[in-house]
Symmetry: C2
Subunit: 464 residues, 2 copies
Amino acid sequence: MLSVASADTGAPTHPDHVLTVTGAGLVGSLLALYLARRGHAVDIYERRPDPRRAGADAGRSINLALSDRGWRALEGVGIAEAVREVAIPMHGRVMHDVHGQLSYQPYGLPGQSIYSVSRAGLNRRLLELAEAQPGVRVFFGQQCLDVNLRQRELHLRDIETGREQHVAFRRLFGTDGAFSAVRSAMQKTDRFDYSQRYLEYGYKELTIAPTPEGGWALEKNALHIWPRGRYMMIALPNLDGSFTCTLFFPFEGEESFAALKTPADVTAFFQRVFPDVLPLMPELTDDFFHNPTSSLVTVKCFPWSFDDDVVLLGDAAHAITPFYGQGMNAGFEDCRVLNELMERHGENWELVFREFQQLRKPNADAIADLAVYNFVEMRDRVADPRFLLQKKIEGKISTQFPGQWTSLYSQVTFSPDVPYADAWTNGQRQDAIMARLMQHIDSEADYDTPEVQELVAQELARAN
Amino acid sequence: MLSVASADTGAPTHPDHVLTVTGAGLVGSLLALYLARRGHAVDIYERRPDPRRAGADAGRSINLALSDRGWRALEGVGIAEAVREVAIPMHGRVMHDVHGQLSYQPYGLPGQSIYSVSRAGLNRRLLELAEAQPGVRVFFGQQCLDVNLRQRELHLRDIETGREQHVAFRRLFGTDGAFSAVRSAMQKTDRFDYSQRYLEYGYKELTIAPTPEGGWALEKNALHIWPRGRYMMIALPNLDGSFTCTLFFPFEGEESFAALKTPADVTAFFQRVFPDVLPLMPELTDDFFHNPTSSLVTVKCFPWSFDDDVVLLGDAAHAITPFYGQGMNAGFEDCRVLNELMERHGENWELVFREFQQLRKPNADAIADLAVYNFVEMRDRVADPRFLLQKKIEGKISTQFPGQWTSLYSQVTFSPDVPYADAWTNGQRQDAIMARLMQHIDSEADYDTPEVQELVAQELARAN
């Protein structure tokens, strides 16, 4: 066996069969588990300290919505059931208007839900399972300063000691997130297409406290939305009875983070636009001024691989905005797809990486665009009675013609066999159909008129 | 006066009034000249060795087309006339078909030309003029490894000695080109939008030799094009009787750089598609296999400034493809515009930088898109008789209605008062008008029919 020597005598050497992963976040730790289950030795380098010994990471979302693509990837390593025990199902959206009036929109058919999970809890779980595999080693507190792609070397810095070292790799999997050091090195290679685009919105996490009895102050099994046109707040339930709220809000302008300068400003603003929730947020002004205002970026790039040496997965390859709740799910799906390709092509890495990026790139682009599209839907359209009526009509079509009409949301969220790109294409076709139908519909009852029934039948016949 | 200390004792210190420029290419040296003429002390750091002592730079174009925006910027520092003496006017395009048949298309009105200039010669000239100014210092062979924006420090490496140093700056002008180290540092700041996109085409420079008598083997005062649909070659005259040809060609595919593997492949290909020029290229196969195949990138980013400390100009802010011959001209125009803003706002740098990027960004985006658009025109449309007829009709309108119809090409090339973005908008409107008119026109003579004359008058009345 050929041993690849390290440039630094103090560094571990890596024989050819060891796979190297940068980043032990959600995608990196799930990937390591997949790789280890295939019999590979895996070394993971992670910038942050061991999350089991340190506090939560500032600026990362506290909870996440796990949906069917994510579940399917977790099933692939046999841990879906364990995760489901600590996940809270959310059956639909509860919209809160400025008067505290609620409306409800189910996410899918009865029994279909998305699940609120703790980012930190899920990450710890995946890491524990990965580390329990023989041959898996995780090195925490190792910041990747640079990657030398030609010499196949990581330049690492120990965040506690400041000591720098060069570590050789033979096969590198970059799962080091939206600001990936691996991708940053690839960006400097010839003919690497790259874009990073920020929204003019930031987000800030806030907290709804549990009730004095330790229960949930709002409907537990729902995702709550306060749609306000140009901005919005959402809330996902936590196991301890609290909700984590996220305010998506312009950085600048009349109503913006920049405009809310004092605790009194914040309280008055919440009183005016989120009056029902203000009494449930005792820590509001503290949270507001202590928690970071984070930005929202979409990263697209291509290729995702460098020769048969390096491949990017998850946010490192395709960072997206959170508005479809699909960032983690898309990254987990990357792991599942890569695993299937390894199953098919064995250690023909060049072929595995090439097919991986060809399969995944159009889907990553589609979910990136869908996420931005869904921001408009969530912050604005869900407050529009016509839009809610349209969603109800879509639900009726779906029930009346089983299998012939699956909403865009359901295709993205509950249909892991439908690639994101196909969902997006289908969704645009459905939008055109609904625009035609809604010209004839003013109420739910109109759906049952012979005229509309015939139109629906015609549209479906044409579409299928 | 406050002196900003360097982090490295060996490095020069920079008092507050010294301006720092990275990159002494065409834009950097012209900018330094503008700044020096305003009375500023300027330190320039350039990666390459002194071009007056070293050979030409591999992978950069040998000659360039200078047009009115560039001339205007050169006039601003009083050096236009000196440059004009070593520039070769090109009055129009000469198209060469596969049988060696020629057709001609003037660029503008009589007397309007673009000018072939030597990149190296122009750069040397600008550098000499800049260095002759009191207070200007140029440090060659200084590679910028990194820029610390917060601490306002360049991390430089001397390419001869390998010695690294940190140099403080107070005000930094990044003119360090398409792969700018300054921009690379800015890319890591929050909410910095960035994209780099490569064409699937590369380019390679080749040479048409002078005649035995030392003259030009093709019409001297023209830009030559061999349009071949999916690819093309162009040639610009040099002072020594040679032409520098540039082959724009797909990287991969049936007809591509990858497909031409041997000297025999190259000769056979040129014999088939560029037969008239093959006998004029005695060094063809040597050039082909020794000269680099370079890639074609478009870089867009925003913002172009970091606080009131740093600003990007030229390719560092907006690298574009060469197909409109506007890369250098746009960069020179940056210098002129920045100078006008300094004239207006004095040393209110925050205001100067803010207005500069607001004014220039839409124009930089427009010329980037125009350049890609013009690639299709040059490699494909100029070989189409209908397109050439349309250009002749446009010429007739322009002559018949002076001041009422300026072609898109003329707006971009000969109208420095028209911003690129306006030219692009006007050009799209003209395209729509010409599409309507050309439905009634099959020959030049048709232009004079009463029907067409009335249509033209109507369209112009509507447009103006």
